[in-house]
């Protein structure tokens, strides 16, 4: 007796597929293992790259010693340090090292402090318009020993007989102030300061208003000046 069912007779009536009581017994796919290892390596590489990009530390230039204003920068003056979060700060990055060398500082920079972008200028940019640099030698006792480059000082000119109202007016107009007749004071910055030997004179360079430069220079030539250190908050008065 022969079964008469034909192909597909019952197929549509029966849905679902029963489970197969067999499991794969094939050879291990070593290439999948290799793929996994490669994937791990790639993940590590991506993570390392991402971490590297997140770390935005950059090299910035730092003064290797006390640099006075007007100093021409040389390679020996500079050090490089890694710094993060420099956005919005006036700093010079180390990739501009070559460019910085040979420039003139318009501001004094203390040892170990970051070189500000604003302190860099060319020779023609120093001293800035409206200012003048006056050199003077000071006898001991005519200056406080606490002077440092960059200090805000008041230059007091002694016994200027011909100053009178004329000079006082000028000084007053320039922000200086004549408080005693015959004695005039001029606001200034100390650019450099070289203390002399035991009893020798100290040599200073003073940045003064251009209008005051002649008065101060002539007084300095006759050694009639005294340098008074004032609080920066007093605006040189």
């Amino acid at each position: 007796m022969v079964e008469t069912a034909t192909t597909g007779a019952n197929r549509t009536a029966k849905g679902g597929t029963p489970p197969v009581r067999l499991l794969g017994n094939g050879p291990r796919r070593w290439r999948w293992l290799g793929f996994g290892v490669a994937l791990m390596a790639a993940g590590g590489l991506i993570a390392a790259t991402a971490a590297d990009q997140l770390d935005d530390r950059q090299g910035v230039l730092v003064a290797g010693g006390d640099l006075p204003a007007g100093h021409v920068v040389t390679a020996g003056d500079l050090q490089v340090t890694e710094l993060a979060g420099t956005q919005g700060l006036s700093v010079v990055f180390d990739d501009r090292l070559e460019e910085v060398i040979g420039q003139t500082l318009t501001l004094p920079v203390a040892e170990g402090s970051v070189l500000p972008e604003t302190a860099l200028g060319t020779d023609s940019a120093y001293p800035v318009t409206g200012q003048a640099v006056v050199g003077a030698s000071l006898a001991p006792g005519r200056f406080p020993t606490s002077l440092e480059p960059g200090a805000r000082v008041s230059v007091v000119v002694l016994g200027s007989q011909n100053a009178g109202g004329n000079a006082g007016g000028n000084a007053g107009g320039a922000g200086g102030g004549a408080t005693t007749p015959g004695v005039q004071a001029y606001a200034a910055h100390l650019q450099s300061f070289e203390p002399g030997t035991a009893d020798g004179p100290a040599v200073v360079e003073l940045v003064v208003s251009a209008a005051d430069a002649a008065q101060v220079a002539s007084a300095a030539a006759s050694e009639n000046i005294t340098v008074v250190q004032v609080s920066p908050q007093d605006g040189g008065q």
Binding site: V2, A5, T7, N10, K14, L22
Partner: protein, 254 residues
């Protein structure tokens, strides 16, 4: 009552072992089926799945020879002499060489009733290539359902046609499964004189999976297993009218 399904070919390697495994692995019901590899020319499953030498067909044959009396009245059937493949399919694997396998099948054919000795719902028997008056032919005659696997190939189909009359007399319930080919099912049925129960397409991936050469996460999605599931459900549910057992030798012309 255990249902025995015997699969065989008339030569040409149309994939009897592949279909037997697929059929047994998707047999419906909780308990499923036991696969007995009774291929007299030697088995492949033990090698493919690295099975132990025992328990296997040799042990089943030995138990068949001893009979229930010598085993204390309780003879284990195929399930008692099988090893589970990965996935849980119990297999009673044939020895790899023809001489030992042929001896085991011969012993089994002397007592085919042992195939239904344990309470497994179904036993799928892979008989390999069937020769007339062979022990395998006697096993096929004792089976509830016989499935002839044939390639869609002119020589094969001619062989089936010439054997059809003898098969009708010898087997209680014969089904024909045709593998691959371009001929239409009705043409084949007409040419062979036997109805075609199922067509099985080419499915190299499923075949490689069954050979243990390939991993597959969802084998039930493969066409071979889908077709096998349909066939298994039909074989399990449809009970053919059983004529009086015919003990005449099978006259297969090959």
């Amino acid at each position: 009552m255990t249902r025995t399904v015997a699969l065989f070919s008339l030569g040409g390697a149309p994939g009897v072992t592949t279909l037997s495994m697929a059929l047994a692995s998707v047999w419906p019901g909780e308990a499923g089926a036991v696969l007995v590899e009774a291929d007299a020319s030697g088995g492949d499953i033990a090698t493919r799945y690295r099975l132990h030498a025992s328990p296997a067909l040799i042990d089943l044959a030995a138990a068949a020879r001893r009979g229930p009396a010598e085993n204390g009245g309780a003879t284990g059937g195929p399930l008692a002499h099988s090893q589970a493949l990965p996935g849980g399919l119990p297999v009673c694997a044939a020895p790899t060489t023809a001489d030992r396998a042929n001896g085991a099948v011969e012993l089994l054919a002397q007592n085919p009733g042992i195939l239904g000795a344990d309470q497994a719902p179904a036993v799928v028997v892979d008989l390999g290539r069937l020769a007339p008056r062979s022990p395998a032919a006697r096993l096929a005659m004792a089976a509830d359902v016989v499935v002839l696997v044939v390639q869609d190939d002119l020589a094969q189909l001619r062989r089936v046609k010439d054997s059809a009359a003898a098969f009708r007399e010898a087997f209680r319930d014969l089904r024909v499964v045709v593998r691959t080919g371009a001929d239409s099912t009705s043409e084949i049925a007409e040419a062979t004189g036997l109805p075609v129960a199922e067509r099985i397409g080419r499915d190299d991936k499923a075949a490689a999976f069954l050979r243990g050469e390939r991993n597959d996460r969802r084998p039930h999605k493969r066409p071979l297993f889908k077709t096998a599931a349909v066939l298994a459900r039909r074989l399990a549910e449809e009970t053919a009218p059983i004529p009086a057992p015919d003990t005449r030798p099978v006259g297969v012309q090959s």
